[in-house]
């Protein structure tokens, strides 16, 4: 059984903050097939198109039949932990300060034997579930979990290195005026976050849900307006060094295209709230989060971007909105590279139309704010990087993978 985490003591302000270190993260281009799977929480290995051999580690030709047709496919993740050992010291600076560290070889039902990191509750000779996780360097690594869930298993130190579990962490929800922001506050409070800071702009302006929001346990309302650089900077100065997860819930949803919009006022607001807002948050909070990537149980862990799936393919009915979302997606890719040295993950959570006021005329299926919030928390607990929430998002993703041009034409209606 995993020893449950205890609420971290308040940090001694005189103590040096240990700098983050990352494990070696270089992978071959082919091996990034595993990164792609890990980013979405899938378990995929190369499967030879010709002889059906399941292959690990990733290769450019099949060791059985020399075929070069080796696509990554989802395969069963079950296996047997055949042998294990404990590393007690290492020349690698990252592992050196994290020993003892258990590793073992897992014989997969699908065929190959994989050397994997071991969850504390795995037992030699017993069945395990293998997962690919993104480690602190953003590279895919194999981690063996016990076949059945065990008590407090999420608190395992090896696993927690690879996840962004909100438990005992301090979260900032950037905009609590929105239904999504309020659902997020509730979900993070329920997930055991230590403090849920919720940003409210223009506090003189009342908003629906205000009283309910204030009643959520461990919610602390703070002034924050992502369109105001000074406001974002001040909030970072106040609380930046104790914020471990940021969920940017600032949204600006308006229908309308590029040609069929009258003027730029709304487009400017879209860009200001979404793209520039993201940049303000990134500049104000990013450096200190990156610095605090190894700051104990409540180390800085993740920046969460909520993105319309139409960031990936424009939806002309909400065309200018889609374009602003695409700008945020591109910025998020940059932020990933910039925050990776601190081991801070950038989660991109893609969704279709939401069950909110600004999608009033859009027919279902729509994603409820509560479902979105649940998916965000689950994504952080799993340590994944790309999350697709709901049928529309899944559908767009699948169609994009097959034929982007067809999707573009079909979105035009």
């Amino acid at each position: 059984m995993t020893t449950p985490l205890t609420r971290p003591k308040r940090k001694n302000p005189l103590k040096r903050t240990r700098l983050p270190l990352n494990p070696q993260g270089v992978r071959s281009r082919t091996a990034h097939g595993l990164t792609a799977a890990a980013a979405e929480g899938r378990f995929a290995l190369q499967v030879c198109e010709d002889c059906k051999t399941v292959i690990y580690p990733p290769r450019d030709c099949c060791p059985n039949c020399l075929s070069a047709r080796l696509p990554f496919r989802d395969v069963p993740r079950g296996g047997m932990l055949v042998a294990e050992t404990t590393v007690r010291t290492s020349t690698d600076p990252y592992f050196r300060e994290r020993t003892p560290w258990r590793v073992g070889s897992v014989k997969l039902d699908a065929g190959p034997v994989i050397v994997a990191h071991l969850h504390g509750d795995t037992v030699e000779g017993a069945r395990v579930r293998l997962e690919f996780k993104l480690d602190k360097s953003g590279a895919a690594v194999a981690l063996a979990l016990p076949e059945q869930d065990t008590p407090h298993m999420a608190d395992d130190p090896h696993l927690r290195e690879m996840t962004c579990d909100p438990k005992f962490r301090r979260v900032l929800i950037t905009d609590g005026r929105t239904e999504v922001g309020q659902a997020m506050a509730k979900a993070f409070s329920d997930a055991g976050a230590n403090i849920v800071f919720v940003g409210i702009a223009d506090q003189w302006k009342p908003f629906p849900g205000m009283d309910k929001l204030r009643q959520i346990e461990r919610v602390e309302i703070v002034p924050l307006d992502v369109t105001d650089t000074e406001s974002v900077t001040e909030q970072a100065e106040q609380n930046g060094s104790r914020i471990d997860i940021i969920v940017n819930t600032a949204e600006h949803v308006r229908a309308g295209g590029i040609v069929d919009r009258h003027g730029l006022t709304v487009a400017r607001e879209e860009i200001d709230v979404r793209y520039l807002g993201l940049m303000r948050l990134a500049q104000a909070f990013g450096p200190v989060m990156r610095f605090r990537g190894a700051d104990g149980v409540n180390s800085a862990a993740a920046f969460v971007n909520l993105l319309s799936v139409h960031a990936l393919m424009n939806w002309p009915t909400y065309g200018a909105y889609s374009a602003a979302e695409a700008a945020c997606l591109s910025a998020a890719q940059c932020m990933r590279a910039e925050l990776r040295p601190g081991g801070v993950k950038v989660l991109n959570v893609f969704f279709g139309p939401l069950e909110t006021e600004w999608f009033q005329t859009v027919p279902p299926p729509k994603v409820t704010p509560a479902a979105l919030a649940k998916a965000v928390v689950r994504g952080l607990q799993q340590g994944i990087e790309d999350v697709f929430v709901g049928d529309i998002a899944e559908d767009i993703r699948a169609r994009l993978a097959v034929n982007p041009k067809a999707l573009e034409r079909e979105m035009a209606g």
Binding site: W204, K205, P206, D225, T227, D228, S231
Partner: protein, 260 residues
């Protein structure tokens, strides 16, 4: 004999003419007009540092700012409202500059507003004021002292389920100001010149409709009106020279005779 403007300047320097700032500080958090979200919105005041003695400009500090024509303490030109759209010289760049300096009367309804945020200014109320202070002379600003500028931002905007609740004039008195008193314009401490619930009036937003329809001006988000006498102040309110501008943030100064 020509007016001695140098003597006037000496009086200002010596304090014989007092200069009172009627302007709110342009800041990001000062409330701005709130419209239904599907309509175009006035941009709030925002400030971005260009450099501050750093690698972006080693020896100098400066900012880029962005805001709407109707953000903060601002001037409304007749072109702002549909009723004034066809008047000559109706935009901030074409208004005769002499009109930017004009005397003012100050009507104090601060007690009434403290008791009722929905206080509406009426003709009888102004007539009672005139009985005390004399008839409003032509060409004067009418400034409505409500002490609203002293409220917290929440009470200042006073937004409730059915919209804003802030004091302002009812339609008849605005028409009367223009037609019977030939006023220069109308100025308030509140976010707009109109009553908070002014969209329910006929016509809606009468301070805008009548004032601008007759080529008169508006000033809003004023402060320090409690420092002005009921009569005798001169207002300096020169908007930025924005090409075909409908209004402009500005510094509003009052000149008042006095020894202090």
């Amino acid at each position: 004999m020509p007016t001695d403007v140098l003597a006037f300047a000496r009086d200002i320097a010596a304090g014989a003419v007092r200069v009172i700032d009627l302007t709110q500080t342009l800041s990001q958090d000062f409330p701005i007009i709130t419209l239904p979200p599907e309509l175009g919105q006035c941009a709030p005041f925002r400030i971005e540092e260009v450099s501050r003695y750093d690698e972006r400009g080693p020896a100098w500090y400066w900012n880029n700012i962005s805001l709407g024509e109707h953000t903060g303490t601002h001037f409304d030109a007749p072109i702002h409202w549909i009723s004034g759209k066809d008047l000559p010289n109706n935009a901030v760049d074409t208004i005769d500059v002499r009109k930017f300096i004009a005397p003012a009367v100050v009507i104090d309804c601060s007690k009434e507003c403290a008791a009722d945020p929905d206080f509406a200014l009426t003709i009888p109320f102004v007539e009672a004021w005139e009985a005390k202070h004399g008839k409003i002379p032509p060409g004067h600003w009418v400034l409505l002292r409500t002490d609203w500028s002293k409220q917290s931002f929440t009470d200042y905007a006073n937004l409730r389920d059915d919209g804003a609740h802030t004091p302002g004039p009812e339609p008849k008195v605005v028409k009367w100001f223009v037609e019977e008193r030939d006023v220069h314009g109308f100025g308030t401490e509140t976010i707009g010149t109109d009553f908070g619930q002014g969209h329910h009036f006929n016509p809606p937003f009468p301070a805008h409709f009548y004032m601008h329809g007759k080529g008169r001006f508006g000033l809003q988000c004023l402060t320090n009106l409690d420092l002005l006498p009921p009569k005798g102040a001169v207002i300096v309110a020169a908007p930025l020279k924005i090409k075909q501008g409908s209004g402009s943030p500005l510094r509003v100064l009052a000149l008042v005779s006095g020894e202090k």
